[in-house]
Symmetry: C2
Subunit: 349 residues, 2 copies
DNA sequence: ATGAAAGCGCTAACAG
DNA sequence: CTGTTAGCGCTTTCAT
């Protein structure tokens, strides 16, 4: 087949100059109705599609933004992506999707390639702080972080969920139910010091202390990324402390692990163990009993992040992080602690 | 900040011609070791990133493929996307993600815009048959369908799951358990004739007939896309026929609806009702009891589809659809039909 | 081994 | 109102 028609072909066929064609198609500048018609017809007849490549080279805008997430199969990331897609569409932008799998090296490579593509901006849930972000900025590319934001890069705007408020609310809810020995399952290096825990862990500790409850070291455990580690950590936590009456999982993968382990151990939920988790993914409602979860507005976050990209550089730099509220969705997985811990501990294997 | 460095800047700084810089960076053509060093250093010092725009204009390849799915938040689509991403990475291609939301008009618009972007190829779960696909082909863009393939477009290669074999295996499994009145919950226009059901429904009917079981009209119901319709259809099916002992949901959203409605109706699973569904999404294992599901290799499908794009046009046209096997993952949601339908029907409201 | 020059398809001055 | 022209950044002959 013959090569796709170019603006020149259209111009020739319509008997006009290329500039006129450009004017008609981009709707800029004055054109007489007659020529307009002729051009449009020629374009239609040739099935002409302007090339984004040519235009981009000239205008220095590609009309596409990069989106860097950890795993697109993660429901939170997927929801985030949906938000970005929705906003990008209203802006007429395309979305280049990339998965970092949480690997900083890979993230660096991705950002590098996005710069080559001359994307108009990058939206990312950063895997790590690193010079590649600064280098993207230097290349004149707008960057906005979502969900997390390394404190080393305050010049990069961010859209976050109010995890601190959410975790606090959840802890207060559990304490209000009468729980005194509440466990926490989070992510991170198990060997790292307490201060190294993320916002969720830190807030958990603070909230507990504020309520006058003791933060027991072995009630806070961290899993490394990955299903196996999550299961192992959950098993350790549940078996180590049969007197624990409630647990907060800091993410849906961790929540999944707790549910699975609790079932394996024949614990009744919530009679023997109350379970709550961060991120209200769809299966929370399908569980039996349905899981109480802290909903974070992933879609909105993606939408907002994309909007921030559009702001002019000056306003962007100056901006404080956008912090979106969370909501504790109460279902059946949490209840008052059982009065019969003896029974419970007899059931553990 | 000053504009990003171009190949010219690098050439000037290294004291060579632009052609030499191009040779060094693309690793093509002979270059003396000394100049090579100089060029590399100059490029590094200027933080030079070649522009994909300029290169693409010249080479007529953008290094990106379009991926058109229904909803990125659908676990099946997300898994598919992950496969595409994985393969694209090995090929050094970028992925432009688009969501059609199952709307043909939107799909047409998306394809049009992808053509403008001059993507090297398009991978899609088509919402509908339509001239936009032929027009993409005419524009010289490779297209490959995944998950479904309109029969009106046999010239477009496809990567599919063997739904027919999978549904048949599932029906046989249920029948083998002793079920005689098996329900089917699918998607599509409820008013359309029986022949209009998709492969899954058609296969369901055929398989039943082959087993000598009767296909009762009101045991096959269709829901329109959307959560509410799924719930309504599931409720209708379960309430209308209390004597039904097993149900096959033709998708995870439908499975979700059945699980929710069964719980609402206080049906015990699998004693009162056995449930199986197509698509082994993550929550299937978290349900209580865990759901028996027909696993389809979404990730592989995405990977393979991306591979097919890379094939030369001639081989691509000639190809028969790639059909990947499914696997019935048996969990606890299916069992022999209860001997006490009276009890069961007393429980329905 | 290396440089000069001709575009790739488009937009944006600038002339007319 | 409309045509001509000069690039945008890169690759690729074709000379040298």
């Amino acid at each position: 087949m013959s090569r796709a028609a170019t603006i020149k072909d259209v111009a020739r066929r319509a008997g006009v100059g290329v500039a006129t064609v450009s004017r008609v198609l981009s709707g800029s500048g004055p054109v007489s109705e007659a020529t307009r018609e002729r051009v449009l017809r020629a374009a239609r007849e040739l099935e002409y599609r302007p090339s984004a490549l040519g235009r981009g080279l000239k205008t220095r805008r590609t009309g596409s933004v990069g989106l860097v997430v950890g795993e697109i199969t993660d429901p939170f990331c997927a929801e985030l992506a949906a938000g970005v897609l929705a906003c990008a569409r209203t802006l007429g932008e395309h979305v280049l999707l990339e998965a970092s799998h949480g690997d900083p090296g890979r993230e660096a490579e991705i950002v590098d390639r996005l710069v080559e593509q001359r994307v108009d901006g990058v939206i990312a849930t950063p895997a790590a702080e690193g010079d590649w972000w600064r280098s993207a900025l230097r290349a004149g590319i707008a960057v906005v972080f979502v969900d997390r934001a390394p404190k080393e890069l305050p010049q990069i705007p961010a859209v976050l969920a109010d995890d601190a408020a959410g975790v606090r609310a959840t802890v207060e809810y559990l304490a209000g139910l009468g729980h005194r020995r509440i466990g926490f399952l989070g992510t991170g290096d198990p060997a790292a010091p307490a201060e190294a825990g993320g916002v969720r862990e830190t807030t958990f500790r603070t909230a507990l202390a504020e309520l006058g409850l003791q933060v027991e070291a072995d009630l806070v455990v961290r899993a490394r990324p990955g299903r196996d580690s999550a299961l192992a950590a959950a098993a350790a936590l549940l078996q180590r402390r049969p007197d624990m009456t409630a647990v907060l999982a800091a993410g849906h993968l961790l929540g999944e692990a707790v549910v699975l382990v609790a079932r394996e151990l024949d614990l009744r939920v919530p009679a023997d163990l109350s379970i709550a988790m961060v991120d209200d993914v769809s299966w929370a409602e399908l569980c039996d009993p349905p899981l109480t979860a802290l909903a974070r507005p992933a879609r909105d976050m993606g939408y907002r992040a994309c909007e921030v990209l559009r702001r002019d550089p000056a306003r962007r730099e100056r901006a404080r992080p956008v912090v979106l509220p969370t909501e504790l969705v109460i279902r059946g997985s949490c209840g008052p602690p059982s009065r019969t811990p003896a029974v419970r501990s007899a059931r553990t294997r």
